[in-house]
């Protein structure tokens, strides 16, 4: 048992009703790493700066990612966290676990590291916070022996993640868990050995509600949708109306294309103008369902601000059937990686690459035809770079 640390600033954060990360760290503080983590964190609270330095190259043999190197700038004062590297452990699809699987992970991490985790990191991995350099190999050996592998870091495919999908959601328009697992397994080399210009993230969302925020934070956003008509149970729409839902104001008036009308008896939908926003289905969950011809819209390019400003993903394929073995998605991905891999600059995300070369040129490069769904509207400026082959056709139309 190590001597108790004085942490008056952090102790303030054990007050109040929301569960405290300080309490979590203290639960493991009878061992040196969490004990010294409390010390260095208290110092940051007093100094109002971080006391971590980056990286340096650390990792496990044969992999170029999966471990984030971290060193402190106060190694003498807090020797147990002098090295405090992070493991990213690839989570199972949709973060389902059994109690036994969790106990195995806890046993491994208690033996080799701080005993502190993030459940989960922003990209989706199980995060093991705080390992020494010497513990990396034995920890990985034991993890992989038990069937767990590392996730991505650096300029590689990052760990794909997905929503709960058909495992527990009636709105899933494709099997997000299966697609996420399949893509993760198909691209193990790209996940573990960085050779891209920068990171490349996949997120699988089962419907346009997008519970995994794929449109904001994945280079490839796969968002479930449908092609045919919304399934309507008129009797159940009536039950909603009788039990207090104002169908006109809460459903019809909030439809983005005003494609619905309600006469008090029947909800009529002009499905040709439905943009699959999900609002009516969210509100009338028992009465309305997505159609039966289901698949996904593929969008590309979202990212946080660094470097060229934040981007949302934009449409690349309006509708793709998402059926195993997902050959269409894999071929599209291979074409994107080849083009971006060859022409992308160092630390240039694919969304920034598309902004730089232009979506039209990007489509040429990956062999996809332009369609109007890809833009909000056609260009408004006349600065068109006409290409040479047009010369032959000019005037002959």
């Amino acid at each position: 048992m190590t001597k108790e640390r004085k942490t008056p600033l952090l102790d303030e954060l054990e007050q109040g009703p929301w569960p405290s990360f300080v309490t979590e760290i203290k639960k493991e503080a009878d061992r040196p790493m969490a004990h010294d983590l409390l010390g260095i964190l208290e110092r940051s609270y007093a100094d109002r700066v971080s006391h971590w330095k980056h990286g340096g190259l650390v990792g496990v043999m044969g992999y170029g990612g999966g471990v984030i190197g971290r060193y402190s700038d106060l190694p003498e004062e807090f020797p147990a966290v002098k090295e405090f590297h992070t493991f990213r452990v690839n989570q199972p699809s949709a973060w389902f676990y059994t109690s036994d699987a969790l106990r195995t992970l806890c046993d491994i991490w208690e033996k080799h590291g701080s005993g502190l985790t993030n459940m989960h990191g922003s990209t989706g991995d199980i995060i093991f916070l705080g390992s020494s350099s010497a513990a990396l190999e034995p920890c990985f050996a034991e993890l992989s022996h038990h069937g767990w592998d590392l996730g991505g870091s650096g300029s590689n495919m990052r760990t794909p993640s997905c929503c709960v999908g058909p495992a527990r959601c009636e709105w899933a328009c494709y099997d997000t868990l299966a697609a996420c697992y399949d893509i993760t397994q198909a691209f193990q080399d790209e996940l573990h050995r960085p050779f891209f210009p920068y990171k490349y993230k996949f997120k699988f969302a089962g419907c346009p509600n997008d519970c995994v925020a794929s449109i904001a934070r994945s280079d490839c956003s796969i968002i479930g949708t449908w092609r045919d008509d919304i399934q309507v149970d008129q009797a159940k729409v009536g039950e909603y109306a009788r039990s207090g839902t104002d169908i006109q104001s809460e459903v019809c008036n909030l439809c983005p294309t005003r494609c619905m009308s309600w006469d008090g008896r029947e909800l009529a939908i002009d499905n040709s103008n439905c943009v699959r926003c999900m609002h009516c289905i969210n509100v009338l969950a028992k009465a309305l369902k997505p159609g039966k011809q289901r698949g996904a819209t593929i969008l590309v390019g979202s990212k946080a601000p660094i470097i060229g400003g934040a981007l949302l993903s934009s449409v690349l394929v309006p509708f793709l059937e998402m059926k195993p073995p997902y050959d269409d998605l894999k071929e599209l991905t291979a074409a994107i990686w080849e083009l971006w891999g060859e022409h992308g600059k160092n630390r240039e995300r694919v969304g920034e690459f598309i902004q730089r070369v232009g979506l039209g040129n990007f489509l040429d490069g990956i062999g996809l035809d332009p369609v109007p769904e890809m833009v909000m509207h056609p260009r408004t400026n006349p600065y068109i770079f006409f290409e040479d082959e047009l010369d032959d056709d000019a005037g002959n139309a």
Binding site: E24, Y45, D100, S144, V164, D210, A304, G309
Partner: protein, 363 residues
């Protein structure tokens, strides 16, 4: 040498190993779901089977001690099955509704709250901050804890909201949490150009890589005291910290000038309106640990005014679009400044190019 069989490129374990029997049986055949009370949902399958979910808030940073306690609860009430959500909540999956109340009692006794469903505030997704990150402008977990302590009634459901409200926190512009499309985003910001240690730089950094790292071209080669180094054109720096990530001798962390900013009105869902970025409300608030009272007050003010003024189903950004930004600033009392006007790429697209304005009658 080792007792363990080391393997590579095996990928994650197959998810089917972890699915409860009721999920396997009704996979892809769920009919609808209902919120029974804050934090408790039932999903009803076409077969008639009913799966109950109890959603529990966590600080994301979890000790193995806690994870083992959750595992024990899953054994006691859920045949050993549980999952996590994309917002760091734990979900216990039950088939017997009689076990819901005992489970909630046990999980609350451990100190973890039940809630975060429907039109409640779910857990704040966040980054590492001072717990583990080199470029953070502030802590993450401490700000999140302080804000959630204040917003707690909105998580447990004792206070209600017109629609979903997603709060996110990132401790620098790198935004590991991608907070830029949240109803309320709290973002750590540096506000001064990095300070260069010319004695360390030649030893620690590759100068061409360092120069290439700057998105605005503010870093130039220079010779200082006869040694190769760089100089930074401070007027061109927008404090992204990219140079510090590639070169530790360009220290950007600064206790006086680092702080927090607040952004509102973003969303990722396609429901009703298209996905939107969050927009700036407060450019800078001081870094004031351990409780960041200025930030907590500002977030609570925004939530309270939204809750009192928005219509049913209206997200933060949809409400603001209806009433207009001038009215939002007037209602919330935050000052509109030069800093709120975009001056980065494509800034002109955010200028108001219409005479459609809301005016107030003169006195």
């Amino acid at each position: 040498m080792t007792e363990f069989q080391r393997q590579t490129d095996i990928g994650p374990p197959h998810y089917e190993r972890f699915l409860p029997p009721i999920v396997k049986k009704n996979y892809g055949a769920w009919d609808h779901h209902e919120l029974l009370r804050p934090g408790v949902m039932v999903h009803v399958a076409a077969s008639g089977d009913r799966l109950y979910t109890v959603r529990v808030g966590t600080p994301r940073l979890l000790a193995v001690t806690t994870i083992r306690q959750f595992a024990d609860l899953a054994d006691a009430y859920c045949d050993g099955y549980l999952r996590w959500t994309s917002r760091n909540n734990v979900e216990f999956l039950l088939t017997d509704p009689a076990k819901i109340d005992p489970l909630i009692r046990d999980v609350q006794a451990l100190g973890y709250p039940v809630g975060g469903t429907g039109n409640q505030i779910s857990s704040i997704v966040h980054t590492q901050g001072w717990v583990h990150c080199h470029s953070s402008a502030s802590d993450a977990s401490g700000v999140v804890k302080s804000v959630m302590d204040r917003l707690f009634p909105y998580f447990t459901g004792s206070k209600s909201l017109p629609s979903k409200l997603r709060v996110a926190y990132a401790c620098c512009l790198n935004m590991c949490g991608a907070v830029h499309c949240s109803d309320i985003a709290i973002l750590g910001v540096h506000t001064k150009a990095p300070v260069i240690s010319h004695s360390d730089l030649p030893k620690m950094c590759e100068i061409p890589t360092l120069i290439a790292s700057c998105p605005t071209g503010a870093i130039r080669p220079a010779t200082v005291n006869g040694k190769p180094s760089v100089e930074i054109e401070a007027g061109q720096c927008m404090y992204c910290g990219n140079c510090y990530t590639v070169c530790p001798a360009c220290r950007i962390n600064n206790p006086e000038s680092d702080g927090l900013s607040i952004w509102v009105g973003g969303k990722v869902s396609n429901a009703r309106t298209t996905p939107q970025f969050s927009k700036l409300v407060v450019p800078f608030m001081p870094n004031n640990p351990p409780r960041w009272p200025e930030v907590v007050d500002a977030v609570e003010r925004i939530v309270t005014i939204y809750a009192g003024n928005a219509r049913k189903h209206e997200r933060m950004g949809e409400w603001i679009n209806r009433i207009g930004w001038p009215r939002f600033f007037k209602l919330t009392g935050f000052e509109f400044t030069k800093y709120h006007i975009d001056d980065f790429r494509h800034a002109g697209e955010t200028y108001n190019r219409t005479a459609q304005l809301r005016h107030e009658r003169g006195s």
